[in-house]
């Protein structure tokens, strides 16, 4: 029998403190803990030879990916070209006299969900106040071009409470009614999944109709904004709030997860889009080779891997990990030439994707997919929330589909193949059973996406 009531109390108190710090991470403590865990790093090196047991199998998988690379790259580029085309307006009247530069969405601003960070070719002539559209729908306008990161800028969505857009209601009357649109009626106000944009200052009473942009004002800023004239803001709705009518515009876009590529609209000074995005997924200089320490994870239901790569590599949290043209996972945490990555099937993995559905003309932007685990047969289970079909719009395609990564997550380029699945019909939450393009379980080598070179004139 032990006599250790004093130490027992100390251990209990220490456990409580550690548990609190584990549940509510405090970065300095986490960093200190990482330093203390140096023996774990040495141990990983000891485990490396274990991978040699399956070297033949791994080499065969890498050879298969290498052999398919050219074909898969061509297919990915065709998918991107179709996505770029679908980001542009189909109506010739909206294309006439304007230039369109397709930009990819990099991420949401972590502090403001109404701000998007986008990437476009550096030196393309993008300026603040240029409108941003998707197809024929108005998205928002460029708030600023980033001086620190070449070819990046901030886009303010029309859902932002501070953004105001001049508009008119096309309700069949000889003279369209003018109004101002911007922000949301109420962040919780929705029709199904559609957001209701705020509308006010109508020039005459209106009850319904299509709302399109018509900016007013003089000067160069107003001229830039007016490049969006004619683009659709949505359908006018009249809501009853506390007995009085309130106007709202039912937005045609799913702003939360539905934006992957957008088009910046300008005059002839704006460079037009090429067949590829500014951030090409297949540019060799943007990848570095990484070694996988052990092809397994000792935590049940996890599929993480420890990676090592040259210390000077610009690998950021969230970077994609791939084999050839095939997506296998994302970096969770990177520092000093080491990283922990979540493979497909790990519950910590999420990414945005597009689907090429058999028999459908255009690629389908799926939005965010969340990995929830593996099925018994090795299929990757991905959670997907499908948006509702809109009245007057062709229903979403369903059936056999090939899934690829899409823009919207920093570090993950569009156009890496994820796998194939049967895309179910109908809105709401679905679990996709994806047969992965690459079975990454036994991988010992992979490629990690590098962050772009910093702007030469940017400060530290």
């Amino acid at each position: 029998m032990l006599s250790w009531s004093g130490p027992r109390t100390v251990v209990l108190a220490g456990l409580c403190v550690l548990a609190a710090l584990s549940l509510h991470p405090f970065p300095p403590v986490e960093r200190a803990c990482e330093l203390l865990f140096v023996p774990a790093r040495w141990a990983r090196e000891l485990l490396r030879p274990w991978g040699w047991l399956a070297a033949g199998e791994v080499r065969a998988a890498l050879d298969a990916a290498a052999a398919a690379f050219e074909t898969e790259r061509a297919q990915a580029r065709a998918l991107l070209a179709a996505q770029i085309e679908s980001a542009l307006p189909a109506d010739p009247a909206l294309r006439a006299g304007r230039s369109f530069l397709v930009a990819e969405v990099l991420e949401r601003d972590p502090t403001d969900p109404d701000l998007l960070r986008v990437r476009f070719p550096p030196g393309a002539g993008v300026e603040a106040d240029m409108p941003v559209v998707l197809g024929e729908a108005y998205v928002g306008r460029v708030r600023a071009v980033d001086d620190r990161r070449a070819g990046e800028g901030l886009v303010e969505l029309v859902t932002d409470a501070g953004l105001r857009v001049g508009a008119v209601v096309l309700d069949g009357a000889p003279e369209p009614a003018a109004l101002v649109v911007g922000g949301l009626v109420d962040p919780r106000a929705r029709r199904g999944q559609a957001l209701l944009l705020g509308a006010r200052h109508e020039s005459r009473p209106v009850v319904g109709g299509a709302v399109v942009v018509r900016e007013i004002g003089d000067g160069p800023r107003a001229a830039r904004r007016a490049a969006a004239d004619g683009f659709r803001l949505g359908e006018l709705r009249v809501l009853a709030e506390r007995g009085r009518p309130v106007l709202g515009v039912e937005a045609p876009l799913e702003f939360r997860h539905g934006l992957s590529l957008v088009a910046i609209v300008g005059g002839p000074e704006l460079a037009t889009a090429g067949p590829l995005l500014a951030d090409d997924a297949y540019e060799d200089a943007r990848w570095t080779a990484a070694r996988v320490a052990l092809a397994g994870d000792s935590s049940p239901r996890r599929r993480t891997r420890h990676l090592s790569f040259p210390r000077a590599s610009r690998v950021e949290d969230g970077a994609a990990v791939a084999v050839g043209a095939r997506f296998v996972g994302r970096v969770l945490q990177a520092a000093d030439g080491r990283a922990v990555a979540a493979w497909l099937g790990d519950p910590a993995l999420a990414f945005r994707a597009a689907a090429l559905v058999e028999g459908a003309g255009e690629p389908l932007h799926l939005g965010r997919l969340i990995s929830i685990g593996l099925a018994a047969d090795g299929a990757v289970l991905l959670e997907w929330t499908a948006r509702e079909d809109r009245a007057g719009v062709a229903p979403r395609p369903a059936g056999r589909a090939r899934i690829a990564t899409s823009s919207g997550d920093r570090g993950v380029p569009a156009g890496l193949w994820v796998g194939t699945c049967d895309l179910p019909a109908g809105p709401g939450r679905h679990i996709l059973r994806v047969v992965p393009a690459e079975d990454a379980a036994g991988l010992l080598r992979a490629r990690v996406r590098l962050a772009p070179e910093p702007h030469p004139e940017a400060g530290p």
Binding site: L12, L21, G296, S298
Partner: protein
């Protein structure tokens, strides 16, 4: 006898315990990768329970730290979560040592069951909390830990004597075994 053991021998004992724990964790990782079943034992934690049965109570902290390090070498879980889980699990086993003889078959089986269950359930809970889950799913965490805890208890029952005889661990024993 511990006083008779030189510091160097004990240090070697800890190093070898770590090497064995890492090896068992690595093996576990490879088995998890290919096994569809959830009934895979947490062999490194079972080894820690076997060592704890024979070690001093004051060895709890280094034992928990090295067990967590071994797991961190083969898993992407946060080190702080692992060390908290290992310390809590082995502390529970140490409390059981007051009422059960952990070196016996029944004692080590129950201790392994309790330690592995609390460790795995804690990992799942902490992962959810760190991922920003609105509520902690304690029932889900417990359910996911049960198969591993049962497999580990069985492993402790059958393999405990073998684990106790792994080369290099005797300098950690607090009395002759």
């Amino acid at each position: 006898m511990r006083p008779a053991r030189r510091g160097g021998q004990r240090l070697l004992g800890w190093v070898l315990f770590f090497v064995w724990a890492v090896s068992l964790s690595g093996l576990q990782a490879l088995v998890w990768r290919d096994a569809a079943s959830a009934f895979v034992p947490d062999a490194a934690l079972v080894l820690a329970v076997v060592v704890l049965a024979r070690a001093e109570a004051s060895d709890l902290v280094p034992l928990a730290f090295l067990t967590a390090c071994a797991r961190a070498a083969t898993s992407g879980e946060a080190p702080l979560v692992l060390v908290t889980g290992a310390l809590g699990a082995l502390f529970a086993a140490l409390l059981l040592r007051g009422v059960l003889e952990l070196s016996g078959a029944l004692g080590r089986t129950i201790a392994a069951l309790v330690a592995v269950f609390s460790f795995e359930a804690w990992i799942v809970l902490a992962r959810g909390a760190r991922a920003g889950a609105a509520t902690l799913d304690a029932a889900g965490a417990a359910a996911s830990a049960i198969p591993i805890a049962l497999a580990s208890a069985l492993a402790a029952l059958l393999l405990g004597p073998l684990l106790a005889r792994l080369p290099g661990l005797t300098p950690l024993w607090s009395r002759s075994w």
